[in-house]
Amino acid sequence: MTAVLEISGLNKSFGGIKATDDLNLSVTPHELHAIIGPNGAGKTTLISQLSGTQQPDTGTIRFQGQDITQIAPHKRAHLGIARSYQITSLIMQMSVIDNIALALQAHDGHSFRFIRPARGIKSLRDRAMSLLDRVGLADKADLSTAALSHGEHRHMEIAIALASEAELMLLDEPMAGLGLEASAQMVDLLLGIKGKHTILLIEHDMDAVFALADRISVLVYGHIIATGTPDEIRSNEAVQHAYLGEE
């Protein structure tokens, strides 16, 4: 089985700091692969290189066999890579449903269409509504995005990632800033998605990671020191030393 995502020899430095250090990783179809690591381990830098907003110094990124290292971010989205943000990144001035409809519109041909009102396109609206239903926000569809809570924003992020029907979803700390209850809801939501998409999950919340992940990779100083099932990671000495023990 070919890997959905194949990263080899990835390096990225900022000044003297190696944020990504000879990183190798392979993500197989439909697995939920979590990346954990202490603060400053280079998790978000990795996601940025995968989505294309940052360029690696050396190394290659292959998506479904194709080398995408040099491909522009918006083109990667069309190949089938969706990303959610650690810091909520929504269009606050727009309504909730407009945010989701825009995400759907991105994958519905070009948008150089000037005449028909976008809010009147039933196919987009209906699909946006069913996505909101899936993440439990159907009753807030017409509210301004700015009026929703942080937890609801996190759910919108997932709905937008789902909207692309992407083969690979890059989720950057979906639990960030969520309370216990909201985190539990998010875990339920992700459990519902799991198995239908390939998910690369970056997360600080250990309970969530061990509840969700098929495999876990541990990132320390930009380098992956171990990859394995949750049980293997739990019992890995190097991991305990480098990361879990410190917490």
């Binding site: 943000y85 269009i91 409809a101 948008s111 009102p117």
Partner: protein, 323 residues
């Protein structure tokens, strides 16, 4: 027909007043007010076009007067050659001049937009202004067309059915053009294209990661906006029958920005309200004192600081968003 909102009613009332009052003034012997109305109507078209990129696109262009000026020169220069170099009658034909104004402005918008839109924030403001000043100095340096002193347009554009020498007909054309411009921008911003443009204003990075080539959409909007401003310039040339580089000075671009912000960004009516109040207040204040810029400036600062959503927001009691 769909039910009109409060903002919708306001738009209908303002546009109806703008249609009726100036001709009434004119027919009752106050020709000056029709002149004033024609000027503000034409400037409103330019403001509406600026609102597309500034209000809905979040692109703070500080060089919009250049498009207006280019549009005016697209009328003036052929008319000049018609008079002194015996070019054919096609040179003063409106069906040649107006499309020429649109094309020249659109091409200028495309060429400068390709460069400008690679920058962000303050740099975008500065570079749009720099390109506009470039055109300003270019025109100043061409002595053939009057340079600094400007150029008199001896003959207004000749159009079928309409005689632009008649002030009422010129106003009528300007007014209809404004209506069309408003409806056009409204249609564009509500379309798929408009949603992308507005989304990129709210969160550019998100739009790119969704898969939108934000640059291409912005460039398209920039060209549309420039072309509309060029059309307004062609009307302005016909109205003033005198054009000079001063039309594209950076302070003129600033005035257009003020109209949009004063009236209410990202609203259909805002730029029109802005243009009306700007011209009317300027007119009133300048009859009271020659130092009218000072109270005028203070009023503008007051509106920007205290009235969210500009005059359109103030009059309908809600800030910001359009219906």
């Amino acid at each position: 027909m769909q039910k009109l909102t409060r903002r919708g009613w306001l738009t209908v009332i303002v546009m109806a007043l703008l249609a009726v009052l100036p001709p009434v003034f004119y027919l009752t012997g106050n020709a000056f007010y029709l002149d004033l109305a024609t000027r503000l109507t034409i400037l409103a078209i330019a403001a509406v076009s600026l609102n597309l990129i500034l209000g809905y696109g979040g692109l703070i262009s500080f060089g919009h007067a250049a498009f207006v000026g280019l549009g005016a020169y697209a009328v003036g220069i052929p008319a000049y050659h018609w008079l002194y170099y015996s070019w054919g009658d096609w040179a003063v034909n409106g069906l040649v001049q107006f499309p020429l104004a649109i094309i020249v402005s659109a091409v200028f918008a495309l060429l400068t937009g390709i460069v400008c839109l690679r920058t962000r924030g303050v740099y975008f403001i500065m570079i749009t202004m720099a390109f506009a000043q470039m055109v300003y100095y270019l025109i100043v340096s061409i002595e053939e067309y009057g340079g600094d002193d400007g150029l008199v347009i001896d003959t207004r554009s000749e159009l079928p059915l309409i005689n632009l020498d008649d002030p009422l007909q010129l106003f009528g054309l300007s007014y209809v053009s404004l209506l069309v411009a408003m409806l056009l921008v409204r249609m564009i911003v509500n379309s798929r294209f408009g949603m992308v443009l507005q989304g990129a204003k709210g969160n550019e990075e998100r739009m790119i990661s969704l898969g939108f080539n934000v640059y291409a959409y912005r460039l398209t909007a920039y060209v549309i906006s420039g072309a509309m401003a060029g059309y307004a310039g062609a009307l302005l040339g016909n109205f003033t029958t005198f054009i000079s580089p001063e039309m594209m000075d950076w302070s003129r671009s600033g005035e257009l920005m003020f109209m949009v912000i004063l009236g209410g960004v990202a609203t259909t009516l805002g730029p029109v309200l802005g243009a009306v109040s700007f011209i009317v207040i300027e007119e009133i204040l300048s009859t009271i004192t020659i130092y009218w810029h000072l109270p005028f400036g203070l009023m503008l600062i007051g509106v920007v600081l205290f009235v969210r959503g500009g005059l359109a927001g103030l009059l309908t009691g809600r800030g910001g968003k359009d219906d």
